[in-house]
Symmetry: C2
Subunit: 413 residues, 2 copies
Amino acid sequence: MKVSELRIQTARLWQSLEEMAQRGATPDGGVCRLALSDADKEGRDLFCDWLRNLGLTVQIDQVGNILAIRPGSQDEAPVLIGSHLDTVSTGGRFDGAAGVLAGLEVLRTLEEKGIRTRRPLGLVSFTNEEGARYTTDMMGSQAFCGELSVEQVWAIRGLDGTLVGEELRRIGYAGDFPCGAIRPYAYLELHIEQGPQLDRAGIPIGIVEAITGLTWLEVIVRGAANHAGTTPMDNRRDAALAAARIVASLPDLASSIPDQRATCGRFSVAPGIVNVIPHEAIFTVDLRNGDPARLLEAETQFRARVQEISSRSNVLAEIRLLGHVPPQRCDPQVVSVIESVATDLAYPSRRMVSGAGHDAQILARICPTAMIFIPSRDGVSHSPAEYSTPEALEAGANVLLHTALRLAGVERA
Amino acid sequence: MKVSELRIQTARLWQSLEEMAQRGATPDGGVCRLALSDADKEGRDLFCDWLRNLGLTVQIDQVGNILAIRPGSQDEAPVLIGSHLDTVSTGGRFDGAAGVLAGLEVLRTLEEKGIRTRRPLGLVSFTNEEGARYTTDMMGSQAFCGELSVEQVWAIRGLDGTLVGEELRRIGYAGDFPCGAIRPYAYLELHIEQGPQLDRAGIPIGIVEAITGLTWLEVIVRGAANHAGTTPMDNRRDAALAAARIVASLPDLASSIPDQRATCGRFSVAPGIVNVIPHEAIFTVDLRNGDPARLLEAETQFRARVQEISSRSNVLAEIRLLGHVPPQRCDPQVVSVIESVATDLAYPSRRMVSGAGHDAQILARICPTAMIFIPSRDGVSHSPAEYSTPEALEAGANVLLHTALRLAGVERA
């Protein structure tokens, strides 16, 4: 057969996804496979068995990342495919696992058909992408890329009081393969979109051009508590009203900047009594954009708006930076390869910005990187209701396969 | 001397206020005299001593209201002056006590000058006006007027788990004078404004024409939780945004109805995570107006606004009635008497609506009633910073004295 006619086996991929979903399965059809938990160990063990069944050597690095390299004909830097197997506590079957198992299916397809690549082809499952138990998200990929030291990672304490280092030993995944030993030629990650755009548009393949940056701000509004009945409307310093005005203006801010998102996730007032004008309101804003200049523009506009509304409402506002992750552009050449593969395979595709963070944004700092998105039904993720169809997985995995082959090169048999 | 030249003694009134403020005094200069507490007992004991020193018989009724009647020349229904001695936990020296002790000063002045009224003149201190320990506010006056039975009052359980009946016995104020035995000819209450209007305008006397009604609503907004990064702005069901839009519109609602107030006192969102669009927001609204038709109009407008904004924001909203107290008009004739007394005494005055609830609104249901307001500095109350000047108290007590005399009639000696 011609290499261009090569396709993954959808039923095999789907079956593996089903089996993986049994590790940490919850009664509602979801998955709870928190990083380094017993369920995570079960999922890891299953994945390692599958890799060994392909005749591959499994490497566990110092932070528990699971890595296997299928040798190429030449001893060069590998094309690396990866994602994660951990989930949030109320997770689904697809977030992370779809990418790891699509990578596994690529390796199985090549092995089955006896196809040898020029560059080695690697597959990695990173430890603790979600940050649900240990709140440092993308932890394994950060260590892999040298952004966190091994010692830093081991010392991270979880919400349950456990230490990463101890839990790695407990579940048998405290490996000795050095973090940073691999510098990939390129990194590819397939992932569910976790948003509704592909599903709404009926487009099977999203090509991630950039991973969103985010700025998290906390606004503390301070006014004066007073009697709700006796204080005239024009004589108030109402912290709740000022905060509500700011939050109500977020859609307007978002619509003034292309591809901007702005969300209030927390909002509380004090003293919180029905007949007392609140003296304090505290809320958070999550600003996201895939473009650094636009993200900065959103923050600047937001800060100006807070000052304008606070002044008009006769209150004071303080803004605290809770977090900032810069937007990460994907590699234009890798993006182009994915796009031409999708075209050649006759899958409609769309370039897009990932609104969520992924291991790929860490890898993009050390090697050419891009992502393949497949549709999430109704845009739902981090939920037992998370779902992508077998056809969506098939399309994504075939694009992943041929992108990897183009980047790694095929050795004629 | 002519009766029209009669004046209260400011220094004596101020001194009594100072002494009363020592009962339950807090280190910050405030007062904590929660109903039926040890401090309340001390305040009551002091008040009863002062009444007995005037030669009056003190009656304690079945719910602990303290009552003394100075006989008139005719055996008719008394003109009753009253207010309360209990405070909130972080209270001041004036709220309630100013009215009771101004009434005491009226009796002292008449006694000192040997002036006999035609109708008897009564003075009452009602139990638990604040509702701070036992959350049924205006409890004593409600029992006095037959709106609560004695048995109902005894069975009220406080936030600290105590029962009113047991605490009355514990502090020695479980009296046997029957509630409802007195039907006043008229009721007068002097009180601090607890708002800034008189203080801002520099007017010493407020004449309360009506006591505000209130409608307390709780709004539960239900949307859908989703990812703050991956969910497009136009595809959200953001409960926090819809709730913020409603709250931000409250000043507009208030300004469309005369003398309307609208306040959001509680506001919370769920799940309350910085990067998750909230699926639920719950907030309260306190609507107040002294006019029943306007209060109803405000509620109707508010409900329509909630529906309009919820529909536009793609969320559902449910509105629950938490409480309703109808506005209470004061007696026009008593209001006129107060107004002409103020004019005769050369005190500038203004008719106004009380934005807070008072025992007077309960008494107004059984007898002609009106209130005299004196300025609160900066409108502050329920705070150690609560303050009214000796001059303000003097003016108020003189207006109270002459209003009582006109209503009771003076027996020429």
